[in-house]
Symmetry: D2
């Protein structure tokens, strides 16, 4: 179980959304309300686009609530697009290489959920990763393998479609190995320009996921903060759990749905339909 | 807010009491029930007597639930007397030098609670520490200062009496500085032979603290574990929260009470009465 | 033993000076040439001025050479004024609160060297710290106490003069306690506008310290880097050890000397003369 | 580059060999003399046999010289058989799952050296690991893969033979991928009863490795230490670098040689001859 959030809009100091809001992601690290576990204290990570080439990634094995460096960065880094993730480990070790977001080039990836029976499936899934990407897997989480599968299946060309193939492939592999209810997920992806999010579970209710409804909503989030009063229609938030100081303005992303957030505050929804096409997986060695 | 436990009895593998019991101290690090906060994830520490000279101390800034080394040590260290502490920081940094137990020579010290207004009182209290001990304070917690005050007031001669003087002195200093409800505490102390525990608050209800009632109780703790079936009357536990697989066998230590546990399973209770005697504090420089 | 560097000039990506130069500070963490020890692997810290209010401080107990977050930050943070420090602990614990720079408000402070007999002097020095600052000392290094003494002696009004009083006071205290050769130091200080550096030892040769000679020198540092070809006369570096790809362009700061670097590339030198004036220390309680 | 040591003999406090000797393994973490790098500060690990079931493993990302917990454990754990390893990372992250020793059941494994072109070979080597072991690989080092290959090739039946097959297989894979000088290694292995060590390089001089010559030698190591005066002929040390307070008593293990140390001080040498037998690798999926 984990929690994550993403911002796409005008440049903001990251602390505005991490610390200066009620029930933000750092509070969710200690007191999550809608997750399987209240505590997400097994490390965290933050990826942002801004100064310098490509996204920056800061990852730590400290709980988010206790890391003084996170407070420093949040108070001194401004970004128009960032993702933050707090982790509750399910079996895999607490180490920076297991913290989200994962990155390749301009791409960032976060995940809340799990691949069921990952111990059983891990080898199958890793073999399906493009051999040229194999050596870039440094940790031992399911998520890092999912990300490299998605890259293998074309994430850089069409993220949602690649994730549909990835999930389809995982479900197919799981079925062959007798693993039920293979995928439980909310995913977040960005290339530095656009933000994609997916809410999906093979069986049952997927992890909670919300989008901010519109600019007026976000403006009301901080009525006394002049920065937020200047919000334009460009600004959107995707969150595992709503910030509590803004009741009523969050729209739940439906199950089996992908959303695309583009600059200009555009939010598009489409069904998320996993599929496994043998022919579309030329790199599969089995 | 913190939680702690202590064992004095026959030698046991530490994991028996940390991991192989229900709602043991490691579970309390994630899901405390009787504390001010459910999460005690800001580091932990363990001190034990056994092989080698004096007590060993292992301290880590990882949450207890996530530290693989703690599992290793617990599974491979056997001790007749040990104290374990999980920490919830209140303001002071998460660093090993702020983790309990604190140690001097054969003495170990743990604390659940706080000194109110410690920012205001810290200088007064540190000045009252024996100058010869001053340089041994490496962290920034209230507890480490309390321990060095208790050493200054004679902990090594009479622990309970020294803690009464320490608490009395702190209450007197707090009164002078206008700090109310100065001390909130359960303390645990050992010299490797005897175990002392104190439950006390200047005002209101002190932190929870329990002692195991008698040997039969502890035996029932692990009906299927041959090790525990061999328990003798020598074995005693002091815990912030009862282990849940043994309902009804814990005796709450009354408020304002000190207990002494001696080898042979002896458990003595006496009132804990803080006092400030100017004349008994020759080392006070102000 | 430690090593540090400071930049005051036009905004640069921090990595230009930490990683993209030969024998920069990160290389000095592993292979220092002019220090008492080649290895400075006991944590590091970086403070920078830029986005957000006041300076940011990032500190880590990892060796600088091994911390992936440092590479990330260096590649994605741009600053016109920053200080970086790599630490070799002498006795005090490896913890973030012992890493430099130390901060108060807009002020940053780094130190290479030591206070001799700090165990003996620590209490005397801490008692001389303004009581209102006392609770802000979170670690156990000599440097943090020196910084708070300097604040007590007027750092915020006149940094060099305050450091002269601080060193004078320490030397006086050391003499009373029979400690010889009390201070060994290069100090770096900034308020976000100006940069001050001091090179001084009570006895013997002080730690190495260099300033970049002039703008042409810095330009030659990176002949192929267009960013550096655009350098103006505003740019100055202060370093414990010269970057090796620019032999001959560093000027050693003389012993017992303070330098002031102002915007515009101004570099002023003056003698550094410790003095202890009883009358100027109204806050001393002894 | 790394350094390691192993002890097989009578039970000793681990600190005797880690801290209370000249140029022991902890000193080698800071000042190695015979390695490719003087600094081995990228984590360390220690595995020992004694109390509890199977070996204990303590691993830390702190440099060995700076970890207070290592001093504590070394001073309070006694063992007749232990291995310690200090790491210098070559590319792979500094995380506990990359620290040696690696373990499976009663088996411990350490390695000084590298697999050349591991990025290129990693996928091939991981595919050759027994699928039932695949999910136990948690880190990203070459060594962990080598260990799981050796388990696949029969380490638990015949460690030296399995390592010969493992190295032969790696050399064969490397040849197919155009990687030269594939294996550079000293290996240490134990099952809790016997200790095996290998010194080998595909090309050039392998990493340094020494065995203590005989009991008199070890006795002379600590002439004033009554513990060592009681040494019997059971005691043997294997070390990457000789302890410096015992010049002349170390025998270099020849290149391309395996040694077996058995209880009773028995030290046997045999040639180490890598071989690749297609027929002996039924689990290879390629």
């Amino acid at each position: 179980m984990c929690r994550w959030m993403a911002w796409l809009g005008q440049p903001v100091l990251i602390e505005e959304l991490l610390f200066n809001t009620q029930h933000g992601i750092v509070d969710q690290s200690l007191h999550a309300r809608m997750g399987a576990e209240p505590t997400n204290g097994d490390g965290f990570g933050m990826g942002w686009y801004g100064t310098g080439a490509g996204p920056a990634v800061y990852r730590s094995i400290s709980p988010a609530w206790a890391d003084p460096n996170l407070r420093e960065l949040a108070a001194h880094v401004e970004s128009p697009l960032f993702l933050t993730h707090v982790r509750a480990a399910i079996g895999s070790p607490v180490q920076e290489t297991n913290c989200h977001p994962f990155r390749r080039g301009p791409w960032l990836f976060v995940h809340n959920g799990y691949i069921a029976g990952f111990d059983v499936l891990r080898r199958d899934l890793m073999l399906a990763v493009d051999p040229g990407l194999f050596a870039e897997i440094h940790g031992s989480t399911d998520t890092e393998v999912v990300f490299h599968l998605a890259l293998t299946f074309g994430l850089e060309d069409d993220p949602i479609s690649a994730l549909e193939r990835t999930v389809g492939f995982i479900e197919s592999a799981a079925e062959q190995r007798g693993v039920a209810a293979a995928v439980q997920a909310s995913f977040g992806v960005s290339d530095g320009t656009t933000l994609w999010a997916v809410r999906y579970a093979t069986e049952g209710r997927p992890r909670s996921l919300f989008a901010s409804a519109d600019v007026d909503a976000v403006r009301r989030l901080h009525p006394d903060n002049p920065r937020f009063q200047r919000l334009s229609e460009d600004d959107r938030l995707i969150v595992s759990e709503p910030f509590s100081d803004l009741p009523g303005v969050w729209q739940e992303i439906p199950e089996a749905t992908a959303v695309t957030v583009r600059r200009g505050g555009v939010l598009e929804e489409r069904p998320f339909r996993p599929r496994y096409e043998q022919s579309s997986c030329p790199k599969l060695s089995r």
